[in-house]
């Protein structure tokens, strides 16, 4: 049977509508388009920032001006006009609402539509939510409950005002201002984001969660997240993202820094569902994100889990720097590219300490004309005695016009270190689909079942509620990829 007539290859690829593509009609307060010293000053002034932070931003900006867009990823990126974008947009009434009652009802409705319960009924779910709308954080729930325990969970802007010593100590300590082109841009113009600090020995009793939403047109979103887990503490953090459906590409360049001190654990989960563009590849978010965690103390552990279904282009490598002896880094990833989506994603595991261990499980799924690249670095430094890494990269192809690529970099400077790498590529076969159908499952259900099976090792790392959402999202993302 020729593959052209096969069911799997019939790529109508019409997305049954991106559910989150609506636009909320609110007045916003925006910076004039363009990027120069004044833009940076404007943002900093809007946020009433101290001088040190403005200087920090300007340093980053001047560094950025000397840098070039990176070209090493396997991505085709249309040239980005950084002078045409708007770097700050805030809903007008939302400047620091004191309680949920003060949040613009239009925004609350938006989150309602997205299925994010901002009201205290979130209590049922045991999830504390920080919601970032365009550039500013509009509401943080459960602040008091957490505050009583000594846990700080607030918008980045608020952290700068209320906890400047913590922010100053850790900001840029994992991802320096000039780390890379997009991180430098973010450092210059970042608007808001979340800040978390968990004190010594404390286990954060609920999942902390941030939902990011880009609403305004021609606006980039540059949020900055900083999570610090003090000695022996534990925190699980979830992040979700959506954006309206627009014809032009929008830029999202975030930076996330995690710091885990001795015996601390951070679990960071992402379900990324930015608008992916339409079936012809028009529009969609450019998702250029720098995420990195440092295990600063012995036996610290950082675990990244990501489900990447959205964005026109994803460029993202959540990484771990394993400084402390016996520290552990984990990276679990599912990335889907359908239609004309492109993803170049993976991780870096930098082993510095003795007996450090890392695990990488990556599942790439390509459908339509999607291109999916796993790019990962495992580096064993000279002092990383007995360090170990296990990497497994699996690619699944749906149809015959998509692509999957695996680019592992392995550098070992310690003879006692051990690195294992396994990779597979498989194709969903017509036989598998037919087998499921012959048991009464519709073709869509069959595809979703097979894909979820393929991703199981990653999905089981997600917190329960997120896992259910992710499973549904996988099915939606692949809609139209079989005939």
């Amino acid at each position: 049977m020729s593959s052209d007539t096969s069911d799997v290859a019939k790529l109508g690829a019409l997305r049954e509508g991106y559910k989150y593509g609506f636009v909320t009609d609110i007045d916003s307060d925006s910076a004039p388009p363009g990027l120069n010293d004044d833009t940076v000053r404007y943002i900093s002034a809007k946020k009433h920032e101290p001088q040190w932070l403005l200087d920090w931003r300007l340093d980053a900006f001047h560094h950025w001006q000397t840098m070039e867009n990176p070209h090493w990823a396997k991505l085709r990126v249309a040239p980005i006009d950084y002078q045409a974008a708007t770097y700050y947009s805030a809903p007008k009434r939302a400047n620091a609402p004191k309680s949920l009652d003060e949040v613009d009802p239009e925004i609350l409705q938006t989150y309602e539509k997205l299925g994010i319960p901002l009201h205290e009924r979130a209590a049922l779910a045991g999830v504390a939510v920080d919601a970032v709308f365009d550039s500013v954080s509009v509401a943080t729930t459960f602040k008091k409950t957490l505050g009583d325990l000594g846990i700080i969970f607030c918008s980045f802007g608020e952290a700068v005002r209320e906890h400047p010593e913590l922010v100053r100590k850790y900001l840029g300590s994992v991802v320096p201002q000039g780390d890379n082109f997009f991180a430098a841009l973010n450092s210059a113009v970042f608007s808001d984001g979340s800040f978390v600090y968990v004190p010594k020995g404390l286990r954060c009793p609920m999942e902390l969660s941030t939902y990011f939403r880009i609403n305004a047109a021609k606006t980039g979103q540059f949020e900055r997240t900083l999570i610090v887990a003090d000695q022996g503490s534990y925190v699980s953090y979830l992040e979700g993202c959506t954006a309206p459906q627009r014809d032009e590409n929008q830029l999202h360049a975030a930076v996330v820094e995690l710091v885990a001190l001795e015996d601390a654990q951070i679990k960071y989960s992402t379900v990324q569902n930015w608008y992916p563009g339409d079936a012809e590849g028009k529009g969609g978010i450019y998702n250029f994100v720098t995420k990195r965690g440092a295990c600063r103390g012995a036996r610290a552990k950082i675990s990244w889990t990501q489900v990447e279904t959205g964005s026109a282009i994803t460029w993202k490598y959540p990484s771990c720097i394993l400084e402390g002896d016996d520290s552990v880094g984990e990276f679990y990833s599912v990335a889907i590219t359908n239609n004309y989506q492109q993803a170049d994603t993976g991780t870096k595991m930098i082993h510095l300490g003795k007996n450090t261990r890392s695990t990488i499980i990556s599942k790439g799924i390509s459908a339509g004309r999607g291109q999916n690249t796993y790019r990962g670095l495992v580096r064993m430094q000279p002092k990383a005695q007995n360090a170990r890494n296990y990497t497994q990269c699996d690619s699944l192809l749906i149809g015959d016009k998509c692509g999957a690529h695996t680019v592992p970099y392995i550098e070992t400077r310690n003879p006692t270190a051990r690195v294992e790498h396994e990779a597979t590529t498989s194709k969903i076969s017509d036989d598998q689909l037919f087998y499921c159908q012959s048991r009464g499952l519709s073709k869509e259900d069959a595809l979703s079942l097979i894909v979820n099976g393929f991703c199981k090792a990653v999905l089981k790392e997600l917190p329960m509620e997120f896992a259910v959402e992710a499973q549904k999202l996988l099915a939606v993302s692949l809609e139209g990829s079989v005939g």
Binding site: S429, C436, R439, G440, L441, L449, N452, F454
Partner: protein
């Protein structure tokens, strides 16, 4: 139950495999289709269940009086048509039990019956497992992943027992089975027999027919049914082979 009239079908390269098959199977009956390799047995099973890659060029198939070929494969399954595969495919990461429950509930939904929850499902499963001498560990493994040949075939019969189809088509279910497994599989098929159901056994050898005694036996050769008879036909074929049925043998 099933009426096949002058069925012609070809594969993608244009070769005609079925060249006018006529067959009627009534409710309550077990029919065996025998024939040499390449005679079109598996094609017939594929066409009846809607496997992609075949094109019906002529003729019709009625199932319970309506046009079976007009239905998508999953709709046929939910209407009560079941195929036990000759080579069941592996689906990694999908728990065998989860798969079966999804399948069963899809069918129940179609019939307007309530879906089974995990507890009810497990109860139903245990009864059938015992009948087919299948260990519970098989349920927790990925669908057909790492199953031995015998386990795969038992799993097919187990699925059939759970789904309780009206028309069961078994494609070479006996191939590759040792005698113990063959007897277990036969037990599963016999348990399904009843006045409401029909079974189509496709086999190359007569040994399964010693355990599942058919009401009728048909010989398929060169894309047509060339001979039909009672159960005694099996023994005759065993003696003479398929050579008597011409160049297709």
């Amino acid at each position: 139950m099933l009426e096949i009239k002058n069925l012609h079908a070809r594969i993608a390269d244009g070769r005609e495999i079925l060249k006018g098959v006529d067959l009627e199977v009534k409710a309550g009956a077990v029919h065996a289709i025998m024939g040499p390799n390449g005679s079109g047995k598996s094609t017939l099973a594929g066409v009846l269940t809607g496997k992609p890659g075949y094109e019906v060029t002529q003729g019709q198939v009625l199932y319970q009086g309506s046009d079976l070929l007009a239905l998508a494969p999953d709709a046929r399954a939910r209407a009560g048509v079941f195929l036990a595969f000759q080579y069941p495919v592996e689906i990694p990461g999908v728990n065998n039990m989860y798969f079966l429950r999804a399948a069963l509930n899809a069918t129940r939904k179609q019939r307007g019956e309530p879906e089974l929850d995990a507890g009810q499902f497990l109860k139903a499963v245990r009864a059938k497992l015992k009948l087919l001498e299948i260990g519970e560990d098989l349920l927790q493994r990925g669908v057909n992943v790492g199953f031995s040949g015998g386990e795969k075939k038992r799993n097919e019969i187990f699925q059939m027992a759970m789904l309780e189809p009206k028309l069961a088509i078994l494609d070479e279910t006996d191939s590759g089975l040792d005698i113990d497994a063959l007897q277990t599989v036969a037990k599963g098929i016999n348990a399904l027999r009843g006045p409401e159901r029909a079974v189509l056994l496709i086999t190359h050898y007569q040994r399964l027919l010693e355990h599942v005694v058919p009401d009728r036996i048909h010989v398929l050769a060169g894309g047509r049914i060339v001979k039909s008879g009672g159960k005694e036909l099996a023994a005759e074929l065993e003696k003479t082979g398929y050579a008597a049925f011409g160049d297709a043998a």
